[in-house]
Point group: none
Chain length 345, copies 2
């Protein structure tokens, strides 16, 4: 049989490797945007891709059974912190052939079960689950079926990777900032939690732990004061009212999340008080809103973009090598000091 | 065997191919908007499609199997208004077997082309496109391939349905509110637009038109004053600076979007001014942030939830009956008066 003329033949990954003078594995790594490629190798491979007009064959993809789809489950689309994570994911995927589709797990166990099943059912190649509330057994089962990375939950699993900011450290940074300003009666508003597993894995629980630990470290153990409400604006308003009603109210409130801090600010305004004049207020997450002049909320930046990028890199790695050892990435957050914190009156 | 009469026979993809003088594969590629089609081939195929009145058969689609997937393309996940729309979509889909997946079109024509192709490529059953910026021809082509509903763009198409708030009326409601407070020098910050189609279809252009029209209706035609920047916070800051530098600065600013109004408030703070004491400020969209006490922005509520529900209802209808007449739904928005507007000094 005749060999088709060279011009009709599709450019393969082998051609790219030969042209670039590197291995096909190296080409594959560069195209997947994987770890362990040098800038030099990347530029050679991209030059070869451009020179040869290489495009991965749709047929080859189908044969391998990949759908080139990454699914992201997020609790809701309202929290701007998740948008930062998605930016990181998108930026990393943009240089690959993967398409991102996201859907909401609605912060609810039954919804998360439905959504993860739907993503598996559509043969997605990998999943990123943001702040899932499902029991560990469900997460393990999902990860057994499809390469999975979990963000915003300090799980320890052999089957999936996790990427988190260090919430324990983050809470300590806020306490340190307030203590340095001269505050002693620093109170905390936490998300009420009784479930044993969540107390070990959820960011909110680690922030409350970090607060208590840091208070003791600064010799303020006797001033530890926690209002246990919820990570919502109403929870912040309620928590602030509880704390302001104390016989000896705090001079500073560390709310476990920015949305909670907004509720605290509402409650202060209602009580005819202001921050930081009457009381200092700090949040956590550094949502876009925190940076608006009219709000100007002191907060903790988790670096959502960085978290998204790290998670995506781990996921593409895991799609290639589903059996590799699980990795737990913990990134150190950054305090962002703004107008709602100052010295005590 | 009898040949069925020509009028009863459905036009097939083969007919289109013969009429255009290309292969059926080529037709399919053009209709799917796939890579590797020349401009020449596209124009021939589209001419044949138009001449024969070809529409892909619903039965043929059903044979290929439903995927029970609805795709939503949104410009970004940061604007809380889109979250309201998604709530409406989700609520309506929850009672069906459809699963929602969303992805960002990045407010960019090339990205939107990639994303719509990806959704079609994954055989999604129907698409909801939120505030797309693609040229009408692209939207038509997408809608020809898959049942489509467009939100946030006042298109007039025979192939897809649209759901919008009445932006013209909405702008008029803000002008009426400010005029009733006694303002006469009411200025507007618009999103700069020169493209003829966008000037006819985009909500921002209709809001600017509505502002001008309402000013004249209130006998304030001589005070029409528009700063043309962009629908961003920076655009709001810049627009406010332009307007404050006028010899006779306005006593009220109607920003075309809440995010713009936030930039205006930033600029006022910077200039040592406040709203409504020195100048009244109103936005549009009623984002969550507008309701926060520290911001308390007068705005226009488009009813995102209602828009999402209406769009989903139309889409499921269209999936069942792809050939039904296109519907344009226009919902009347509601003004939400808060703390940033008051009588002029």
């Amino acid at each position: 049989m005749h060999q088709p003329p060279a011009t009709a033949r599709r450019v393969t990954i082998g051609d790219v490797a030969r042209h670039a003078g590197v291995s096909t594995t190296a080409v594959s790594k560069v195209l997947r945007n994987a770890y362990g490629t040098s800038a030099h190798m990347r530029s050679r491979v991209h030059a070869a891709v451009d020179a040869l007009g290489y495009r991965p064959s749709a047929a080859a993809r189908a044969l391998r059974g990949r759908t080139w789809t990454v699914g992201v489950m997020l609790p809701d689309v309202r929290n701007p912190f998740f948008a930062d994570i998605l930016d990181g994911v998108t930026e990393h995927l943009d240089s690959t052939d993967y398409q991102l589709f996201m859907t909401s797990g609605c912060d609810d166990v039954a919804s998360e079960a439905r959504v993860t099943e739907a993503m598996i059912d559509r043969s997605m190649d990998g999943l990123i689950l943001i702040a899932p509330v499902s029991p560990p057994r469900h997460l393990e089962r999902v990860a057994q079926t499809v390469p999975t990375v979990v963000i915003g939950r300090h799980s320890r699993s052999a089957r999936f990777d996790t990427v988190n900011d260090d919430d324990f450290i983050g809470a300590g940074l806020i306490v340190a900032h307030l203590a340095a300003l001269g505050h002693r009666r620093i109170a905390h508003i936490e998300h009420h939690e009784t479930d044993r597993i969540r107390l070990a894995e959820m960011p909110n629980a680690l922030r409350a732990d970090g607060y208590r630990h840091a208070m003791r470290e600064h010799g303020l153990g006797e001033h530890i004061d926690v209002a246990s409400t919820s990570y919502t604006r109403a929870g912040g308003q309620h928590g602030a009212k509880i704390l302001l009603d104390r016989e000896d109210p705090p001079t500073a409130i560390f709310a476990g999340a920015d949305v909670v801090a907004l509720g605290v600010l509402d409650a202060l305004t209602e009580a005819g008080l202001s921050a930081p004049g009457d009381i200092s207020v700090a949040g956590y997450d550094n949502i876009t809103l925190a940076g608006i002049r009219a709000v100007s909320l002191t907060s903790i930046d988790q670096g959502g973009h960085r978290i998204g990028t790290a998670a995506t890199r781990l996921l593409l790695d895991r799609i290639t090598d589903p059996d590799r050892q699980a990795t737990q990435v913990k990134l150190t957050p950054t305090p962002v000091v703004r107008g709602t914190t100052g010295p005590p009156r």
